[in-house]
């Protein structure tokens, strides 16, 4: 089993924190959280994960409260990095299940 933690710095105050757990060639778990640096430290904005085998995307408000959860297809870190690089802080306003 391999556990990989990755922090992708998109900008000084924008990161994607990723966790990937793989067993052999199979990816058992992933989470990719887009965070921005706010007055209270790193604040969650959007998160893709497949906890309990259900791939979904979550959106958070500025207080860290979950505001929306939708089912999406499984994503890779590369795909999420591309989406974040395009939309950056506007990501929260996007229809993420379509991306």
């Amino acid at each position: 089993m391999e556990i990989q933690r990755t922090r992708v710095w998109m900008h000084r105050d924008e990161v994607i924190d990723a966790i990937e757990i793989t067993e052999g060639k199979r990816r058992r778990y992933y989470s990719y959280t887009y965070r921005t640096l706010g007055k209270n430290g790193w604040e969650n904005q959007v998160r893709w994960d497949n906890f309990e085998g259900q791939p979904h995307v979550d959106k958070y408000d500025s207080n860290g409260a979950l505001i929306e959860q939708k089912s999406v297809q499984e994503k890779s870190l590369e795909e999420v990095s591309k989406i974040v690089a395009i939309f950056r802080r506007n990501l929260v306003a996007m229809e993420l299940e379509d991306l």
Binding site: M1, E2, I3, Q4, R5, T6, R7, V8, W9, M10, H11, R12, I19, I21, Y29, S31, T33, N44, R47, D49, F51, D58, G64, A65, L66, Q69, S81, A85
Partner: protein, 147 residues
């Protein structure tokens, strides 16, 4: 451009991580219960649970990478900071005062540089008595132009 640093956790580092998780959540079972109740409002808890569950397994490898997608990182890595990072890596970890003496630099500048390196994930601090020991978290930084 893609700048990347990667570390593999040693057995001691994994044990230290488990100790931190135990201190924060009590036990894996207790964390599992918290996750079941608060998985939507506390995603960090879900990640901690998955990591803890993973490293409890025999032969689990834990690695950590920092990736910078642009050259912004380069202005964080000044000559002085790279020199500091190399020294910390070579010695295995030293206090701020020891680094100040070894590198013949001003204490405050060394301290500020260490904080900047910590922010980028290249070093971490461990407390030993009243001393704050800087530990290198990477042994290499790669720059790729193929991205």
């Amino acid at each position: 451009m893609r700048i990347e640093s990667k570390i593999t956790y040693s057995r001691e580092e994994k044990e230290e991580l488990v100790a931190q998780l135990k201190k924060r959540y009590g036990s894996l079972t207790s964390l599992q219960q918290k996750v079941a109740m608060r998985k939507c409002t506390s995603p960090e808890m879900v990640d901690d649970y998955m990591i803890w569950k993973g490293i409890e397994k025999k032969d689990a490898a834990l690695t950590e990478a920092h990736i910078w997608k642009n050259a912004e990182m380069m202005d964080q890595l000044t000559t002085r900071r790279l020199e500091l990072l190399e020294h910390i890596h070579r010695t295995g970890g030293e206090s701020v005062m020891a680094l100040t003496i070894a590198l013949k630099r001003n204490y405050k500048n060394v301290y500020d540089d260490l904080l900047a390196l910590e922010k980028t994930g290249l070093i971490c601090f461990r407390t030993s008595g009243r001393k704050k020991i800087s530990i290198a978290r990477t042994s290499e930084i790669l720059i790729r132009f193929d991205d």
